[in-house]
């Protein structure tokens, strides 16, 4: 939540709570004090996410395909681990033309600040007036950075080993601007927009993340030899931001060469930043390299909101409701959510359990070449959590 909203919230609740719960008041005062102090100092301190009665509320958008069942598994797991998170479920019906559903979902996310979502199907045979619901959500909430961390997991057999790539993809403009027109019948123009503000913003995000995570090298992926102005601008912005981070090596690579390098030697990449469409391609290639869509979580961050989902955003229509989907990606996304809410102890506990389950080959689901079922995997994760015992001391 932003500093502004926390201040107003604490201001409103202070008189209510001051008599009954001095602890909470002091907590609010700490937050309030810190926030107002920092307004003066103009630092980048973000106050911890708001809680009501000690519990967070998170919007859950089940989506289509395997989304609903995976969302249920997340809730089941959280309930089992006593995670102080309540889910507000908002259904979005992809078959109706009205945008009320998605607007409700957006409102709920504005209210709660955080969301976990499944992919909402887009029927591409409908006319252009029906926009992709997922895209609408991302652009309305200005979730400008899509972050995907692809790592080789032990126990998952892939052609390449030791992959550890972080992909930061601009999430709101570029080719996904949905601006198309047909001036002459039979000739369609689609506009790709690149702006300096958004390019600087995503480059800044990428370098800040690189510094925070101790990454040594940032690679910008582009096609500036052909799209000289558009991708040229993006590249310039990256170079400008790079000059402020001398300890991080910055280089650039053309997108077709990047995909070629990724399938032959993916270990050479560290952190990659790129515009929207190339991000789509590169993130899917990397997800495929580490084991498939069932393993990689994705996060969409904006200035004020964060939405977590599976990295490759698949609906999985063909395997829906068959208990064969791999829940790892969604569950790891929920761990990212817990980290965002600063519930780090819960996040590490659940993540440890998930990773130990993934390394068990006999529990692998169909996408990893096994025959395990979703419920078996979730049960095994819960057993792993139980055996390690509660590690969290925070409330």
């Amino acid at each position: 939540m932003t500093a502004r909203s926390v201040r107003s919230l604490s201001g409103a609740l202070k008189p209510l709570f001051s008599n009954r719960c001095p602890g909470i008041t002091s907590c609010f005062l700490q937050v309030y004090g810190a926030a107002s102090c920092n307004q003066r100092q103009k630092s980048t301190y973000t106050p911890p996410p708001a809680r009501y009665g000690g519990r967070h509320t998170v919007t859950l958008i089940p989506g289509d395909g395997i989304g609903p069942e995976l969302g249920n598994h997340v809730r089941e797991l959280f309930r089992f681990c006593c995670v102080p998170v309540d889910f507000e479920v908002v259904n979005v019906d992809s078959s109706v033309a009205s945008e009320d559903d998605i607007n409700n979902a957006i409102m709920a996310i504005r209210r709660n600040g955080v969301a976990l979502k499944g992919n909402i199907e887009t029927n591409h045979n409908l006319p252009p007036s029906y926009k992709s619901r997922n895209n609408l959500l991302r652009t309305t909430l200005d979730l400008y950075a899509n972050v995907m961390h692809c790592q080789s997991l032990p126990g998952v057999r892939t052609r390449h080993r030791n992959i550890d790539i972080m992909i930061i993809r601009e999430n709101t403009e570029g080719e996904y601007s949905s601006l198309e027109h047909e001036n002459v019948p039979g000739v369609v123009e689609c506009l790709k927009i690149i702006t300096k503000t958004k390019s600087l913003r995503i480059a800044d995000y990428a370098f800040r993340t690189a510094r925070a995570k101790g990454r040594r090298r940032v690679t910008a992926v582009h096609k500036a030899n052909i799209m000289k102005l558009g991708d040229g601008l993006f590249l310039e912005c990256c170079k400008e931001v790079a000059s402020g981070y001398p300890e991080i090596t910055f280089d650039s690579m053309i997108v077709d060469n990047t995909t070629m390098q990724l399938v032959s030697r993916p270990q050479q990449f560290d952190l990659m930043v790129m515009p929207n469409l190339y991000g789509n391609v590169v993130s899917n290639v990397c997800a495929g390299l580490v084991g498939g869509p069932g393993l990689v979580p994705g996060a969409n961050y904006g200035e004020d909101y964060a939405v977590f989902e599976t990295g490759t955003r698949n609906t999985g229509k063909s395997i829906a409701n068959r208990n064969t989907a791999n829940p790892t990606a969604m569950l790891l996304a929920s761990c990212l959510l817990l980290d965002h809410l600063k519930l780090h102890a819960y996040a590490s506990m659940i993540r440890r359990a998930i990773l130990s389950t993934v390394s068990e080959t006999r529990l692998h689901t169909a996408d990893l070449g096994g025959q395990g079922s979703t419920s078996e995997v979730v049960q095994s994760i819960m057993n792993a959590v139980q055996s390690t015992g509660p590690q969290t001391l925070s409330i």
Binding site: H160, V187, V188, I194, N225, G288
Partner: protein, 354 residues
């Protein structure tokens, strides 16, 4: 090992002695040495090809427009078949890249890249056998860009009915002529509803006329995801320009890189130019270290296009045997032999095969 291309051959000029003329553009950097390697191999194989060497450097024509030299154009128009080495793209030379000029001059609308695993050159991916057919004239590479206001740039992606129909027709024709089972259209119509939607509609329309070939549609990201996990599920892929660029290079990476990947450009009026797609490698130019495999396999593709399957098979077998043998490999293939030694080995095998 199946045939690469056998398109309906139109109007190939046949000389006396049954020799067919081919315009050869050696190119820059390592271009001349790999071209001479290919010429030597063809000579040993006694292929009925008469090479007409031409240079393409941009010259300014009447009206101030850049064009290729008229003798090169004349030669291509007469022979209809070309083999091209790598051309360097000058930066800030004032004229567009030579590849772009050639494309515009001959309306090379389809770029065909068959990606078949080379037995003997091990990559993490085995049994790759697919063909990427990429629309080469429009799409994201139309080159139309504007600065709307300072800090906001707009690039235009152009999709037209005619170009989409043409490439779809070529893809299905190719599939039929090369005994391929399915054609997959790669798109992103969920986001780019109108443009990729138009492309898809045209593909669907053309598919109606080719009921013997299975037609599927797949999102670009799904193709990428599945390609790196299991490339054997793909057969012929047809797509607009940008996706084609990325996917064809991805597939080239699967089989071992641009140094071993053949490529063909098909144009209107029966023109076809086959080329190696790697760079000019100026650092090893003239040192007899280059690997001629890509240009050689493109030349084999050319032979098949002309209907000279026997010669094509012979040369291809010799080339693959040399690579499989691993005794005389150039540096990029993992050995430390010279280009001339590699070429000599292939020539020797061709003579043994005769």
């Amino acid at each position: 090992i199946n045939n690469f291309i056998s398109f309906h051959c139109e109007q190939i000029i046949i000389d006396n002695n049954n020799m067919q003329t081919v315009t050869l553009i050696p190119g820059d950097g390592i271009g001349p040495e790999i071209s001479s390697a290919v010429m030597k191999i063809f000579e040993t194989a006694k292929a009925p090809i008469r090479w007409e060497e031409r240079n393409v450097t941009a010259i300014k024509g009447p009206g101030g427009r850049w064009m290729i030299p008229p003798d090169a154009k004349e030669s291509m128009d007469k022979s209809k078949i070309g083999l091209k080495g790598p051309l360097k793209t000058p930066i800030a030379a004032g004229h567009p890249s030579m590849n772009l000029l050639l494309r515009k001059t001959f309306d090379l609308y389809a770029n065909v890249r068959p990606c078949i695993s080379i037995e003997g050159y091990k990559t993490p991916y085995t049994d790759v056998n697919l063909v990427t057919i990429r629309e080469n004239t429009e799409g994201e590479y139309s080159g139309i860009e504007h600065v709307i206001v300072d800090g906001v740039v707009q690039s235009i992606k152009l999709i037209t009915e005619d170009a989409s129909r043409r490439i779809a027709e070529y893809a299905f024709e190719y599939a039929r002529n090369n005994q391929r089972n399915s054609v997959t259209a790669v798109h992103k119509a969920n986001i780019m509803r109108m443009s990729d939607g138009l492309f898809l509609r045209k593909c669907r329309e053309v598919a109606e006329n080719y009921k013997d070939i299975k037609f599927t549609e797949m999102y670009l990201d799904t193709v990428c995801l599945n390609m790196v996990q299991d490339p054997t599920q793909f057969d012929v892929l047809v797509m607009p320009n940008l996706y084609g660029d990325i996917l064809s290079d991805l597939c080239a990476g699967l089989i071992g890189g641009l140094g071993v990947t053949p490529s063909g450009n098909i144009g209107a009026n029966g023109v076809a130019i086959f080329e190696s797609v790697h760079g000019t490698a100026p650092d090893i130019a003239g040192l007899d270290l280059a690997n001629p495999t890509a240009l050689l396999l493109s030349a084999v593709m050319m032979l098949r296009h002309m209907g000279l399957h026997d010669y094509g098979n012979k040369i291809q077998t010799a080339c693959f045997d040399t690579i499989r043998d691993k005794k005389v490999l150039t540096k990029d293939l993992g050995g430390n032999s010279k280009c001339s030694e590699f070429t000599a080995d292939i020539c020797r095998r061709i003579q043994d095969l005769d």
